[in-house]
Amino acid sequence: MNSFWALVRRDLRLAVREGGAIGTALGFFLIVVSLMPLGLGPDLNLLARIAAGILWIALLLAALLSLNRIFEADYEDGTLDVLATGHLPLELVATAKSLAHWLTTGIPLALLAPVLGILLNLDLASYPILVGTTFVGTPAVSFLGAIGAALTVKARRGGLLLALVVLPLYVPTLIFGISAVSAAAGPAGMGAAFLILAAISLAAVVLGPIAAAAALRIQLQ
Amino acid sequence: MDLGPHAAFIWISYAAVAVVVTGLIGWLLLDGRKQAAALEALEKRGIRRRSSASAE
């Protein structure tokens, strides 16, 4: 487990030193959210109604931008070759890198989401639920995204391809993320949707690294 | 001092400006100290700037 945390620590350190990637994802999130009112018109009641949806979609798009970072740099500079000869199974290598991605991108995006809610006139009562769903939902974003990142590591035009491959995988997260926020306003409360969202994240944490490792083994050939 | 019904908004505004401005100043001072320390560490190890070396 020593080498697992060594890898996580190294990735966190790299993310801090090369801060640009996180900043770009956050800036992109901010810009996409503020483009929505420009397109829809400044009607605050309308914006408040669709705020959760806008925030979730923008969050997914921003996360998408940062996904190729998970494996690409390590593939290009030969690090991946060496990681594959470690005592750590490739599945855990993928877990460590997805975890680092969640810590450096998923959490900052989740923290920014409620701030952007202000721009969309999001109902104050929805804030705790929004924060809850983004925190519970973003692990799925990182761990499912790792699959796409591993699949497209050697591909030409990897970035565009990545979007095509990963966005369908995000559909369940998106649906239950939004419905947890809007269900909370209704009589039933957010219970069921929120639990399903948590289940999706847990499944992603388990299955994502397995699929990503399988893809990486093929890429290493 | 009575700032009326919206006192909280006024205080938060001033506090936010204070926090961001002191944060900026703190960052600038810290960064300056860091660069000076790096420069000193390099000079202590006998590495000199080309321009100062040629001037002497």
Binding site: G19, G20, G23, T24, G27, L30, I31, S34, P37, L38, G41, P42, L44, I118, L119, N121 | M1, D2, L3, G4, P5, H6, A7, F9, I10, I12, S13, Y14, A16, V17, V20, V21, L24, I25, L28, L29, D31, G32, Q35, A36, A38, L39, L42, R45, I47, R48, R49, R50, S51
Partner: protein, 250 residues
């Protein structure tokens, strides 16, 4: 003025000069802001319309003013880099960007804290707010673009191009947003129509903030000059301190 900029072209002279000027600028800025704070809280009346909330204006307006002035400074510096290749122009542009972004952020934040009691909402998509938000994005773009290049001089020139493009696009944004949204009343020009009893504290604060910016900018430029020296020395040192490369000479 020409001779001053020429003199400043030598970084060593800039470091000497700025070290002497900086304490004064910072000191006067601090004094003005303290005086301005006193005025804005104890020596100015509440507005007959806005009530006490008008006091937010005394920090909001200086921040908003700085958000635009700093962008202007970056644009001039960028021009100086691209056209005159002034060695400190890029240092100036790079140092100003994060400070400008911070003041733009504060202008947005204090504006929205003023808006909640006045308009009943933290944010409206009105022309002025939207264009300031876009100005904030431009700042972020400048910082991000520069950070994306390993070759610093290439990154500097490309960032300068973006800064100049931003200058030309800003008025267009302002106009287009005005047309896009005519729901909201146009924001009033405070400095012109404001009552003298409020104009004085506003003026003191604006001057204090401007000097505060210049103090921070000078400090940031000094840091940047030092950072570049460290980098140059390291580059030089890496060849010199390589045990294997120096071995044959020993």
């Amino acid at each position: 003025m020409q001779t001053l900029t020429q003199q400043l072209a030598n970084p060593t002279r800039f470091m000497d000069l700025s070290a002497r000027v900086l304490p004064w600028v910072a000191g006067i800025a601090a004094a003005l802001i303290v005086y301005g704070l006193y005025l804005s809280f104890f020596d100015s009346p509440a507005d007959y319309q806005q009530g006490e909330t008008v006091r937010i204006m005394y920090i909001h307006v200086p921040c908003a003013w700085l958000s635009m002035m700093v962008y202007g400074l970056i644009a001039v510096s960028s021009f100086g880099l691209l056209v005159f290749r002034h060695p400190l122009a890029d240092v100036s542009a790079k140092a100003a960007a994060p400070i400008g972004a911070a003041f733009t952020f504060l202008a947005l934040l204090t504006g929205s804290l003023w808006g909640k009691p006045m308009w009943g909402t933290y944010w409206v998509w009105d022309a002025r707010l939207t264009s300031v938000l876009i100005l904030f994005f431009l700042y972020l773009g400048l910082i991000a673009l520069r950070a994306a290049f390993e070759d610093e001089s290439a990154g500097a020139k490309l960032t300068a191009v973006l800064a100049l493009v931003g200058v030309t696009i800003l008025p267009i944004i302002k106009f287009s947003v005005n047309w896009w949204n005519t729901l909201h009343q146009p924001s009033t020009d405070f400095t012109a129509t404001v009552d003298p009893s409020m104009r004085w504290p506003l003026l003191v604060m604006a001057l204090g903030f401007t000097l505060l910016f210049f103090a921070m900018h000078l400090k940031a430029m000094r840091n940047e000059v030092l950072r570049r020296r460290v980098k140059a020395m390291r580059t030089q040192a890496v060849a010199g301190r390589d045990r294997l490369a120096t071995q044959p000479a020993e």
